[in-house]
């Protein structure tokens, strides 16, 4: 398999690393890293990357000596650029191969699962090969380019025709694989699309791009799209309508529901998993209605207790509701605060850049006093009052134009922003000591805000 050569490349690159790696520190963090890897591995059992990682880990666990094991894991994490790109190559090449060869994919996985004590229910998914491989396939090209909705209907139809034979086992597959498979492979392939040394650009934008569906374009292998679908109440309403038209949740088929709903971008996989969830949600309440008489008597007892004791079930429920309400309010407040902090951080960054460009311009004319007016003009455009005050303060101090001011400004958005998202005020106090004087005024604003 392609995995092996790539691993050996990584290893050779990593062997050079091992000389530089602090063995002591590494060995202590290795277990943590390997558990972390294991966690990520467990989540994505069916991807090639996961297989590679698992193989790494089996070797790591199997080897008695520490150094080669270090190489294995370190090589994965800190792979040289050559190892890295080879990593990418095999992961992008792989989906293309899977189209024709499903069986090797399966045959490899049982070996790995035997090697590792993975206790995932998704291990049972391995025999059913076609779906995971399909999903890996189509994810290969999907994230690179923008979604192209025109391509969608063709193979959606192909899907639908070949669909009816699948058993309900397959639904479980969907539910587990849904979340496990595609994000991982999707991300894997996102990387070759961006440049390898890209840092901040390599972000989860693909999953942001479309909440509903992403269509494979370039390396499309006529495979079904399996991105995450974000359901809404309206969509669900349409779903229920369609199901009822087809005779209820038990009788409705995903294909029929999909056809009835006529929602662009909805795949049969989404419908299948949603239908299964719907069935489960409905099944439980129904048996309880049959036994409602039994519950009646117990309810009567409780309600009589209710009257006797001052605080009965209803009162307890009411209190619980109150607490939950308050908690929710607090969470909302916290969220809004976080959003505004980031907004301000971005704003400060922009300010800093403006000022920097202003400084560069002025280096020729060498007149310092011109600096403060420019930033203060910009501050008047700031969206919120607090931002205005604090950025004025920040710019006032940094208007001295020294290198220190630049670095202070640079650090301040990050420090201030980072610190204030914690729920504990002790960290706020820490922020006040850490943050430089130019932005020291800002933290004092925050507690007032929060009160």
């Amino acid at each position: 398999m392609e995995a092996r050569p790539a691993l050996s490349i990584q290893r050779s690159g990593a062997s050079q690393l091992s000389n530089h790696v602090v063995a002591g520190g590494l060995s202590s963090s290795l277990p943590a890293l390997s558990t972390h890897l294991e966690e990520t591995c467990q989540k994505f059992p069916n991807t090639q990357q996961a297989h590679a990682e698992r193989e790494l880990m089996t070797r790591h666990l199997a080897h008695a000596t520490l150094l080669p094991a270090n190489n294995g894991v370190v090589g994965h994490i800190f792979s040289s650029s050559s190892g890295f790109s080879s990593d990418i190559h095999y992961s992008s090449a792989l989906p293309n191969e899977q189209n024709s060869r499903n069986s090797p994919f399966i045959s490899q996985s049982p070996i790995n699962t035997a090697a590792l004590p993975l206790s995932q229910s998704s291990n049972s998914l391995l025999p059913q090969s076609t779906i995971p491989s399909h999903r890996n396939k189509e994810n290969s090209g999907s994230w690179c380019t923008d979604p192209d909705f025109l391509d969608f209907p063709e193979w959606a139809d192909q899907l639908i025709t070949g669909d009816d034979a699948l058993t309900s086992n397959w639904n479980e597959l969907l539910v587990d694989n849904d979340m496990n498979l595609e994000p991982k492979t999707a991300y894997q392939v996102a990387k070759p699309c961006t440049t390898v040394p890209a840092q901040t650009q390599q972000l989860p934008s693909p999953s942001v791009e479309s909440h509903s569906v992403v269509i494979p374009s370039s390396s499309a292998n006529n495979a079904p799209a399996k991105p995450r679908m974000r359901w809404t109440p309206e969509l669900h309403e349409a779903f229920v309508e369609a199901v009822n038209q087809l005779g209820g949740s038990e009788r409705a088929t995903p294909k029929g529901v999909l056809k009835l709903m006529k929602v662009e971008g909805l795949t049969i996989y989404h419908v299948k998993s949603h239908l299964q969830k719907y069935r489960t949600a409905r099944y439980r309440p129904e048996p309880s209605e049959g036994s409602s008489e039994k519950k009646l008597t117990s309810m009567e007892e409780i309600s009589s207790l209710d009257l006797k004791a001052g605080m009965g079930i209803t009162e307890a429920l009411r209190l619980q509701m109150e607490v939950q309400k308050r908690l929710h309010e607090q969470l909302e407040i916290q969220r809004n605060l976080q959003l505004r902090i980031e907004e301000q951080g971005r704003y400060l960054q922009m300010m800093f850049e403006k000022q920097k460009s202003g400084l560069d311009k002025l280096k020729g004319s060498s007149s310092n006093p011109e600096n403060p007016p420019a930033p203060s003009d910009a501050t008047n455009e700031s969206p919120t009052k607090i931002e205005l005050e604090s950025s004025q303060r920040g710019n006032g101090n940094s208007g001295t134009g020294t290198v220190n001011a630049k670095s202070m400004l640079e650090r301040s958005p990050q420090e201030v922003c980072g610190e204030h998202t914690t729920p504990e005020t002790v960290d706020l106090e820490k922020a006040e000591t850490h943050v430089s004087e130019s932005s020291s005024q800002q933290p004092s604003k925050r507690p007032r805000l929060e009160e």
Binding site: H20, G25, M179, P183, Y187, Q199, Q334, G418
Partner: protein, 248 residues
């Protein structure tokens, strides 16, 4: 490691099924420490950062997947609950097909419990989103601090757009639950409780005014009463006498 401890606490206190869906903060922190302590031109900052970003993105994918699945479940459950209420009202309610006070009350009690639990779970999900967002912010900040790079700001901007952070729909469902509870269950027992509350408040008002009157005055004379010293004056003050009480 204050946040780390707090996160651990959150994980312990949350639903068992959710425990492995949280941010692997400790591991990421170790990675950051590793990166900052073992940097060398061999593999370069770029690759280490790429790897770090890769792991972070994995975490984000994990959050997104979990969050959206829960959200889907909530949407289904919400609708089922609403329908359940209608069903109960239609069958056992006063104008229903089989009007029965007792059964109606019992069924409503059941539904009420379900709604409150449902509400609680949704609030838990919003909390989950917040906790993980905070964790991401913190680990990014650590990374920037250790490596001197500027990864945090642009990265967190992207995180803000992620599905797991956009909790609008769940919040909306939460508010709808609250409204449902208020509408359907406001009548019966609430009246008694409100009455009791009002009585307590009038008593508190009286005590406070007495305290005012009997405060140590400048015109203290032989016949003046000593200042009233209420042990629980703080408690009474906290009754929030100015809060509007719905007059039913």
């Amino acid at each position: 490691m204050k946040f780390g401890k707090w996160l651990k606490q959150q994980i312990e206190e949350t639903l068992p099924a959710w425990r492995d869906k949280f941010l692997s903060y400790k591991e990421l922190k170790k990675l950051v420490r590793l990166i900052s302590s073992t940097e060398s031109p061999e593999y370069g900052k770029v690759d280490a950062e790429a790897e770090f970003v890769y792991l972070l993105n994995n975490e984000i994918d994990k959050f997104n997947a979990f969050f959206m699945e829960q959200e889907e479940d909530f949407i289904i459950r919400h609708r089922e609950l609403q329908q359940g209420i209608e069903r109960v009202i239609d069958t056992w309610g006063p104008n229903g097909t089989k009007p029965s006070q007792a059964e109606y009350k019992d069924e409503m009690a059941k539904v009420r419990k379900d709604i409150v639990d449902f509400h609680g779970e949704m609030v838990l999900l919003v909390n989950y989103s917040n906790v993980n967002y905070t964790g991401l912010g913190k680990i990014l900040k650590k990374y920037d601090k250790r490596t001197g790079r500027l990864l945090r700001l642009p990265f967190i901007q992207k995180v803000l757009e992620q599905p797991f952070f956009v909790t609008d729909l769940v919040s909306k469902l939460v508010k709808e639950c609250e409204n449902t509870i208020d509408e359907v269950f406001s009548v019966e027992v609430e009246e008694e409780i409100v009455k009791v509350q009002r009585e307590a408040i009038t008593v508190a008002e009286k005590l406070l005014s007495m305290q005012e009157i009997r405060r140590g005055s400048s015109t203290y004379g032989h016949f003046s009463l000593p200042p009233l010293d209420l042990p629980d004056s703080d408690l009474i003050h906290s009754f929030q006498l100015n809060s509007p009480i719905p007059t039913v």
